[in-house]
Symmetry: C2
Subunit: 153 residues, 2 copies
Amino acid sequence: MLQLTRDGEYAVRALVYLASQPDGKISLISEISETQEVPKSYLSKIMQHLVRSGLVKSRRGAKGGFVLARPAHQITLRQTIEAMEGPIHLNVCLIKKGECHRDDLCPVHPVWRDAQSKLIEVLDSKTMADLVRDAEKLQRTGNKTEARRVEVK
Amino acid sequence: MLQLTRDGEYAVRALVYLASQPDGKISLISEISETQEVPKSYLSKIMQHLVRSGLVKSRRGAKGGFVLARPAHQITLRQTIEAMEGPIHLNVCLIKKGECHRDDLCPVHPVWRDAQSKLIEVLDSKTMADLVRDAEKLQRTGNKTEARRVEVK
DNA sequence: AGCATTAAGACTAAATTCATCTTAATTGTC
DNA sequence: GACAATTAAGATGAATTTAGTCTTAATGCT
Ligand code: SF4
Ligand code: SF4
């Protein structure tokens, strides 16, 4: 299906949370889990994955927890999602040349390439720092969709 | 995963084939299956689905087969894919308002909306007629990727 | 030593994906 | 009317993915 998995979704929530914390602040699984509404033990697995991907650093033991591995403006939405799901390929023929042997003469192939590059462009253009800033703005103004909610009789 | 299913892929192949046929020509499952490299019995189920979705008309019995239900320029790539997979929603919060209760204050929500609308725009802009025309062009020139295949030592 | 915390990964249930197979229904032709 | 060709419908199933839980080990502060 053309839909983000829970893995990806939860990873984004976790990283946005970490990015919103004061510099150097260590966050606990339980803290992230509660505020971001992600099952605790599931989140634990996701955090492990993010550590291994190099986006997050962890410290074990008492006073342990998680911190971003680099500044929030150096972590994009795409990186976060790909850390969990692997590289984005909207169709098999975009995995690598030759994955679908029809690609040379296939008129649909270029369309998928186009669609994918536009999607990736959007995900590349948002960093965790951007998202935190956007979130602060929304705290004040509310989301635009709110305005569109019109009475339908 | 953010990837098209085989259902969608095969439906597109089938419709591009039907669109490439002379007007009024009836095509058989076996014919589509062979040229488009789709398992015959699997394709049969897909064609059923496309008939019920109103994109294709079928005729049973001897001399039966499949034809497009409307002109090729009135069938888009998006329609074809959505006929098999249902409406495209890159994330659950795009299914409908309230599907994710965090959407009002979520900074990621608008990003998904943006990404999805760009993806859909690409898929909406290509009709089966366009694709058939593109395919004819490729028959002559070959796909651009071909040119990029450079010797790597 | 003792406790809090993450690390690692085994385990599981449910859903989805990608088919195959069987049987029925329909229609053209002889 | 008999028969062959063809799609219609859907039951079945294996493999994979998804989403999540649980257990045990390792680590580090106090
Ligand atoms: S779109 Fe074309 S190239 Fe891509 S998988 Fe389908 S047939 Fe192959
Ligand atoms: S992106 Fe935001 S609104 Fe959308 S599902 Fe995730 S939390 Fe909910």
